[in-house]
């Protein structure tokens, strides 16, 4: 469904994306995980035709993103990181204008269905500026789904949301997957990537440093992690294939340790020596 080959993007002298390649299958939820500034949003902008790359090629559904931008726009939906709703328009007006822009048939019925689905139908006449942050995120998602896109891009979908609303959003995203849509999401929340993604790409300083299913990535470094703080106050992580190996290591350590299952952030730390923040 999505194919990215040797993608490169510079902003001035800074290489924001550095030779990134990957493929995403139809119906898959693919997550791009990495700290702020890793290049996640730049990749989303390139794939959604907003930014032109300096090198490399991208295809969605066989269409070249640069040469066939108009075709690509027909079957993608985008939830950007920054809220880009019209604050001076109501919930319904935002949906209506988007629907008209995308030439949606039976628009009124579809708007009602989607707003009910995200719990915003009762607020349809409210100005967007009067909605809470969580409601605005849900509206962004409903708006992106209005055109029934084959591929949905979610750039940091739950950024700034409290845990309860975040989990509600995850439920909606899981329902989207059941409709056999391809979802490309970026996040710097480990739990989000683990909860939602079939496969994950880990991005650091514009480079894709790991790619696979969350379980395969964990297996590649060890399923169990021993975490402790050394005498200089530095956080130390050791990963092990089995729980027994982890216990053996912990016994030998004089300092208090935590033994737990490896998560995606441990993989990132193992590969880069940095935390995802």
């Amino acid at each position: 469904m999505i194919k990215v080959e040797g993608l490169v993007k510079y902003y001035g002298k800074v290489k924001a994306v550095d030779g990134v390649s990957f493929e995403i299958k139809s119906g898959e939820i693919f997550g791009l995980l990495g700290p702020n500034g890793a290049g996640k949003t730049t990749i989303v902008k390139i794939l959604t035709t907003l930014t032109k790359p300096d090198a490399g090629r991208c295809f969605i559904n066989g269409f070249d993103v640069i040469e066939k931008a108009y075709e690509i726009k027909k079957f993608i939906g985008v939830v950007p990181q920054e809220n880009n709703l019209d604050r001076d328009l109501t919930v319904y007006e935002n949906m209506f204008i988007y629907g008209k822009l995308h030439k949606i048939s039976q628009l009124k019925e579809k708007i009602k269905d989607l707003l009910e689905n995200v719990g915003l139908w009762e607020r349809k006449d409210a100005l967007v500026s009067k909605l809470s942050g969580g409601m605005q995120r849900r509206l962004l998602l409903a708006r992106a789904l209005l055109s029934d896109p084959q591929v949905l891009f979610l750039d940091e979908p739950s950024i700034g949301l409290d845990p309860q609303i975040r989990r509600h959003l995850w439920e909606i995203i899981k329902r989207i997957k059941k409709q056999n849509k391809t979802v490309f999401l970026t996040t710097h929340y480990i739990e989000e990537a683990e909860a939602l993604c079939d496969r994950v790409g880990i991005l650091s300083k514009g480079r894709l440093i790991a790619l696979g299913t969350p379980s395969a990535l964990k297996q590649s470094v060890g399923l169990f992690t021993v975490e402790y703080t050394d005498k200089e106050g530095r956080l130390k992580l050791w990963t092990f294939k089995t729980k027994e190996e982890a216990y053996e290591f912990a016994k030998k350590n004089e300092l208090p340790v935590i033994i737990r299952e490896t998560n995606l952030e441990d993989i990132f730390i193992k590969l880069t020596g940095e935390r995802i923040e």
């Binding site: 035709t49 907003l50 032109k52 950007p80 019209d86 328009l89 204008i97 822009l101």
Partner: protein
């Protein structure tokens, strides 16, 4: 064919909502009303211009100036702020519509804003100057002027790297045009060294055309110049959006 309509409708809905705010309308009309009172009703009572009262000369000029500033400002600010800060321009850009549909929708919205503001001055003209009338050159000048400056607003809104830059364009181009291009006094009275500059600026031709009572050769020349500017600015706007990349 009607892909521009949702772009236009969006601006229309926002405009309608802002119009309901009393302060918004007042601030948009403050400057032309001040000019009208100070120059028209104040100083103007002592002046005769081209054989008629100064008010009769001033009102078409104010219509041209008001339509220029409103068409330009609305679109330049809207595009620039929506592109750089509110990111709502990206919603239009990501829609499966042509680039020209985006420009047409935005320019028509800018024209509407300019025509609305101009119509308020026209109403004041009818109320205060009994001989005031709308000729074909007047209406043609008004429409072309709105299209031209809305297109310029689109171009500036797309090109300016920040909101301050759109204000700079306003202060260096739009504001001087309002004063030097025949709004308040005939272009013949302008100092000789400024005339070459004034005859490059499009508002000069709007001001000549808008005061014509009948369509003559001069009028045709003005129309051609204004159409030329419209085509160039619209074309440049299309080029900028076609090459758009964040």
């Amino acid at each position: 064919m009607m892909d521009w309509y949702p772009v236009f409708l969006r601006e229309l809905l926002i405009f309608r909502r802002r119009l309901l705010k009393f302060g918004y309308l007042l601030s948009a009309m403050m400057l032309p009303i001040i000019y009208f009172i100070v120059f028209g009703l104040g100083l103007g009572r002592m002046v005769q211009m081209e054989g008629k009262s100064y008010l009769g000369f001033l009102i078409p000029g104010l219509v041209a100036m008001t339509s220029m500033t409103n068409s330009y400002t609305w679109i330049a600010n809207s595009i620039n702020l929506n592109r750089l800060y509110f990111k709502t321009f990206q919603v239009l850009y990501l829609a499966p519509i042509s680039y020209s549909a985006i420009i047409i929708g935005e320019v028509l919205a800018g024209m509407l804003k300019g025509l609305f503001a101009a119509s308020l001055i026209i109403v004041v003209g009818f109320l205060t100057y009994p001989n005031f009338g709308l000729s074909i050159p007047f209406l043609l000048a008004l429409l072309l002027n709105c299209f031209l400056f809305a297109s310029l607003g689109f171009l500036v809104g797309m090109s300016a790297k920040g909101h301050e830059e759109t204000a700079t364009y306003f202060n260096f181009f739009i504001l001087p045009m309002g004063f030097f291009c025949g709004t308040f006094f005939p272009i013949e009275r302008i100092p000789e060294f400024l005339k070459p500059v004034v005859f490059v600026l499009p508002l000069t031709y709007t001001n000549i055309l808008i005061r014509k009572e009948t369509f003559d050769t001069w009028s045709l020349g003005c129309v051609l110049v204004l159409v030329f500017y419209c085509v160039i600015l619209f074309g440049l706007g299309f080029r900028v959006i076609k090459n758009y990349s964040e």
